[in-house]
């Protein structure tokens, strides 16, 4: 029973990851799970995009990674937001809100 999935628009994955990590440090699987759940199972992040994206963000210095222990005591790589990432998140949130509002406005005017 395939769930209804929506492909992420270009560039939004970074925002979603940053937003997810703003709550607490997470490992990769949990990030994709959380996005999946919070979006009421509409958004689904492919592993093929998730890990390259995580790495990209890390290289930009917006998130950092460390090895930790998962809930059932397994070694897992956790990602957390950096100060720089926090700023970037605010920036992107703003942009996104403006964009979304503008798009919505256009759609609502007949």
């Amino acid at each position: 029973m395939p769930e209804p999935r929506v492909d992420l628009p270009q560039g939004t994955l970074d925002l979603l990851i940053l937003r997810t990590l703003a709550l607490e440090p997470q490992h990769g699987w949990a990030i994709s799970e959380r996005i999946h759940q919070i979006s009421s199972k509409v958004l689904f992040v492919q592993q093929g995009s998730l890990y390259p994206a995580l790495h990209r963000l890390e290289r930009r210095g917006w998130i950092k990674s460390r090895w930790g222990t998962s809930e059932n005591n397994r070694r897992a790589k956790f990602y957390e937001l950096t100060k720089l990432g926090q700023k970037q998140l605010e920036l992107e949130e703003n942009t996104w809100r403006k964009l979304a509002a503008a798009v919505a406005q256009i759609l609502e005017t007949n």
């Binding site: 490992h27 699987w29 093929g48 995009s49 890990y51 790495h55 290289r59 070694r75």
Partner: protein, 902 residues
């Protein structure tokens, strides 16, 4: 930023750790996913399957992950190189053929380019070479070709202009005899003005260099050695300073040695010993070059003051010119000459790269050779491209597998290109060795007995960059097409095995076809070029030059430095000539002031009392002074009248023998024997000398083989106006001329041990005048042959490959009853199409391009139809020969074997 670098470095140097961490992270993700599915009530095996499907290919994800990691470029480059080396190593024969042909191509390009670099582009190894200018005089009548030779008087006018020049110097090359009698020991000398070294900023390595106080009129003279000469002749002993050196039998103290690396401002020559300009008076005696105002022996360079623009300099020199020439006016010129002289102007040319006679002689040939070797490299590239194409198609399956395993197409192309650049780099490396060897050989080739060429052939960064650039360029050039083609595989058909029918039809012969056709075209251009140069050269060599160059030894003797008094010159020369005549093996002996094709000329205006006779500059006639034995020795026949004999003495009436051209030009072809012509007296103010023509001699070349034979008048050597101290003996012998030298030496030593002698053969002298032509003919011939060979290999390879691909088809055709003849037709049709397309393109190209060669050709037009036809014939024959083996193989396909193979 910092983050970025650290992470990249970590991935590069801790590759293993990073890779295993990535594995672990992804595995963790996968297991969490499975766990989640299991929790939702799905069986473990089904959960695993679903998770794997969701994942969408673990290897792809990893590859993309790696890509995002960023190091990838370097990391995969290393991987590609390792893999490429393995692949290349697996086919050693193909790889070595490819590397070798690339090495030849790149080596040839590097060699020619390094010569161009050395001769034309390289800066002088002195301080701020970009400030140097060469000062020339410009005749308004011939404004496009200013000349650099100046007189001492002009130099005195030019040297002190501190408003525009921060320094200036004059110099003049000369050859000095180092010996103290007997066989001449030549050294390259240079007269330099006092500020030569100072202005250039050259430092001494030992002792001191010359300065302005050394260069005053009446100077005693001092010598500075070049570093190389000091090492070779003085064993780099510091005791050389303070010892003496004999130059043309004058003794000079050695005061110092110039710094290593400095060989003078003339590229292609090196000086051994430098003496001040003022010493010319010591060598010349009473009337020296310092006083003679029409002795054009010096060249002048200046260092322009910083801040003076070329326009300012030009304007300033324009203003200075009238005064400069007025103060240096030669007093003995006639009124017209003086008027012209005063109109001369001084112009400056940038001289950062020094000056060089090589540029005029070899500039154009080198550019043409650069084009030739460029074409050779292109042909080699085409060869390797078709080779790679064939191999790439054979690797279709490998490409498919790698693609299926997650490699992107870009990655595959990069892998193939890496292989190609590996190949071309190996070729370039080997090519550099070829080039080193080639340039040395070339320089030796263009050196002649009288014009030793010395070039600093060390490769500078420009040459190395050039080589590296062409290596990468060629690698890309021959790699791109195969890489793009071979990675365009359809996964399913390739995996099915074999090439798949669909791809087979597509691959067949098409891209290879165009590669081969372009090879044929380029080879034709090279063959035509080679043909033109070869035929020009043959024409020059077989030209009727009017004398027999073989078996003649030339012996130059100089009586002045031997201390023979002037009134004894004639008797001494005659004594020597008689002695030489009696040497065993000598058939006849002549003596003359000039020898043919020596590069020297002596000419003067001649007046004939006839209304139609040429006047002014048209009346210029080349002169020579010869002894009675001259014509017999050179085998130039006397056509009418008589040659010279014992009747013609210093005091007898003046007579001359003229050549046919002179008869044509001055006497409209009528027999001039017994008639007279007049020549200006050697001293101004005296009446012209009247000379009677006593004979006509066959035309012979005077200064060079390429010239239109000039009107020439010969005079008895006894009647030479100023008794010359130097003469050349011509000895015709039955034995090889070189074997005579020691006998000649002994015989002349019996007259006077001090006489310096110089030996060479007439054949060598004529040969040496053809250096440029021989160079072009030999090299273009060599490269034409190479191109032919490469094209043959290319055609053979492409055709064999095409035949292999179509084996099944031919098998089926044969099985269905096709005769070998019809298979032959199929294959030959391909060959014919490729060949004619290539020939057509090549002929068009040659037709357009060869115009550039016209100036260097002799006796035939650049679009010489015979040459083009011959080239087409040779190329077609070679192409058919190359096609023979593959075609025969196609005709012998055994239907059963071919079918079973599939």
């Amino acid at each position: 930023m910092f983050n970025d670098v650290m992470l990249r470095l970590r991935s590069l140097f801790c590759r293993k750790t990073v890779e295993s961490e990535m594995d672990e992270e992804l595995r963790f993700h996968f297991e969490k996913q499975v766990e989640k599915l299991v929790r939702s009530g799905i069986a473990l095996s089904e959960a695993r399957r679903r998770a794997r499907l969701e994942f969408g290919g673990m290897e792809q994800v990893k590859e993309e992950y790696r890509e995002a990691r960023g190091v990838n470029f370097l990391e995969t480059l290393l991987q590609d190189i390792r893999y490429g080396l393995r692949i290349l190593g697996r086919t050693p024969a193909i790889t070595s053929v490819a590397i070798l042909s690339l090495a030849l191509g790149i080596g040839a390009n590097t060699a020619i380019f390094s010569l161009i670099d050395t001769v034309m582009l390289r800066m002088l190894p002195v301080q701020k070479p970009e400030e140097l200018v060469l000062l020339l005089r410009q005749n308004p009548k011939r404004a496009d070709e200013p000349t650099s030779s100046l007189t001492y008087a002009l130099w005195e006018q030019l040297r002190d202009h501190p408003d525009i020049f921060s320094g200036a110097f004059a110099w003049s090359e000369s050859r000095f005899d180092l010996s103290r009698g007997g066989a001449v020991q030549q050294a390259n000398g240079v007269f330099v003005s006092g500020d030569f070294f100072g202005t250039l900023g050259v430092q001494p390595s030992v002792g001191r260099l010359l300065n302005t106080s050394d260069d005053q009129r009446g100077c005693p003279g001092a010598a500075v050695l070049s570093y190389g000469f000091w090492q070779e002749h003085f064993g780099a002993e510091e005791s050389a300073i303070g010892s003496t050196i004999s130059l043309d039998h004058k003794i000079f103290p050695i005061v110092g040695v110039s710094g290593p690396g400095f060989t003078g401002v003339d590229i292609g020559q090196k000086f051994d010993v430098a003496v001040p300009v003022c010493t010319a008076a010591i060598f010349d005696g009473k009337e020296s070059r310092l006083d003679h105002r029409s002795w054009w022996w010096l060249r002048v360079m200046a260092r322009v003051k910083p801040g003076i623009s070329p326009d300012q300099l030009k304007a300033r020199l324009g203003v200075l010119s009238p005064e400069v020439f007025a103060n240096a006016l030669p007093s003995d010129w006639d009124a017209d000459g003086k008027k012209d002289f005063l109109k001369f102007t001084v112009v400056a040319r940038p001289a950062a790269t020094g000056t060089s006679g090589l540029r005029r002689r070899f500039g154009e040939p080198l550019n043409i050779l650069m084009g030739v070797v460029g074409l050779v490299l292109l042909i080699a590239c085409a060869n390797i491209a078709s080779l790679m194409l064939a191999r790439a198609s054979a690797r279709n399956k490998e490409s498919a597998v790698r693609k299926a395993l997650g490699a992107s197409r870009g990655r595959l192309i990069r892998q193939l290109l890496t292989e190609c650049i590996l190949l071309s780099s190996a070729g370039a490396l080997l090519g550099v060795f070829f080039a080193r060897w080639g340039t040395t050989l070339l320089v030796r080739y263009i050196s002649t007995a009288r014009g030793q060429v010395f070039l600093d052939l060390s490769f500078d960064s420009r040459v190395l960059v050039f080589t590296a650039a062409i290596a990468v360029l060629t690698g890309t050039l021959f790699g791109v097409l195969p890489a793009i083609r071979s990675t365009r595989v359809s996964l399913s058909s390739a995996m099915k095995g074999g090439l798949g029918e669909e791809s087979e039809r597509r691959v067949r012969f098409r891209p290879g076809k165009w590669i081969v056709a372009s090879q044929v075209a380029l080879s034709l251009v090279l063959l035509v070029t080679a043909g033109l140069f070869l035929r020009s050269f043959v024409k020059l060599v077989t030209l009727d030059i009017g004398f027999d160059r073989n078996n003649v030894l030339l012996v130059n003797a100089n009586l002045k430095t031997a201390g023979v008094p002037q009134e004894r010159y004639l008797a001494t020369f005659e004594d020597i000539e008689n002695r030489l005549r009696s040497l065993p093996g000598v058939v006849s002996v002549g003596r003359s002031v000039l020898t043919p094709i020596s590069g020297f000329e002596w000419n003067n205006n001649v007046q004939v009392d006839s209304p139609n006779a040429p006047k002014g500059e048209d009346a210029l006639v080349d002169f020579n002074f010869v002894s009675p034995g001259y014509y017999q020795t050179l085998r130039t026949p006397i056509l009418a009248g008589r040659g010279f004999d014992a009747r013609d003495t210093k005091t007898s009436p003046q007579v001359a023998v003229v050549n046919q051209i002179m008869v044509q030009k001055f006497f409209q072809g009528t027999n001039p024997t017994g008639k007279y012509f007049k020549v200006d007296a050697p001293k101004p103010g005296q009446p012209p000398v009247v000379i009677q023509i006593v004979g006509i001699v066959k035309d012979s070349k005077y200064e060079s083989l390429r010239e239109n034979t000039p009107p020439t008048a010969f005079f008895p050597i006894t009647q030479i106006p100023d008794l010359d101290d130097s003469a050349t003996f011509e000895l015709r012998s039955t034995t090889p001329p070189a074997a005579l030298t020691s006998a000649v030496q002994e015989s002349i030593a019996a007259v006077n041990k001090e006489i310096p002698l110089e030996f060479r053969t007439l054949a060598k002298q004529v040969d040496d005048s053809l250096v440029q032509e021989r160079l072009l003919a030999t090299l273009s011939g060599f490269f034409g042959g190479l191109a032919l060979l490469l094209a043959m290999i290319g055609l053979y390879g492409a055709l064999s490959y095409a035949v292999t691909l179509r084996r099944t088809e031919f098998g089926i055709r044969m099985a269905l009853g096709a005769l070998p003849g019809s298979i032959l037709r199929i294959v030959m049709k391909d060959v014919a199409v490729v060949l004619s397309a290539g020939l057509l393109a090549g002929a068009t190209l040659s037709f357009l391009a060869v115009r550039l060669l016209q100036k260097l050709l002799f006796g035939l037009g650049a679009r010489d139809p015979l040459t083009i036809a011959t080239a087409i014939g040779i190329l077609s024959a070679v192409a058919l020969l190359a096609a023979y083996l593959p075609v025969r193989r196609a005709m012998r396909v055994d239907p059963m074997v071919a079918l079973r193979y599939e």
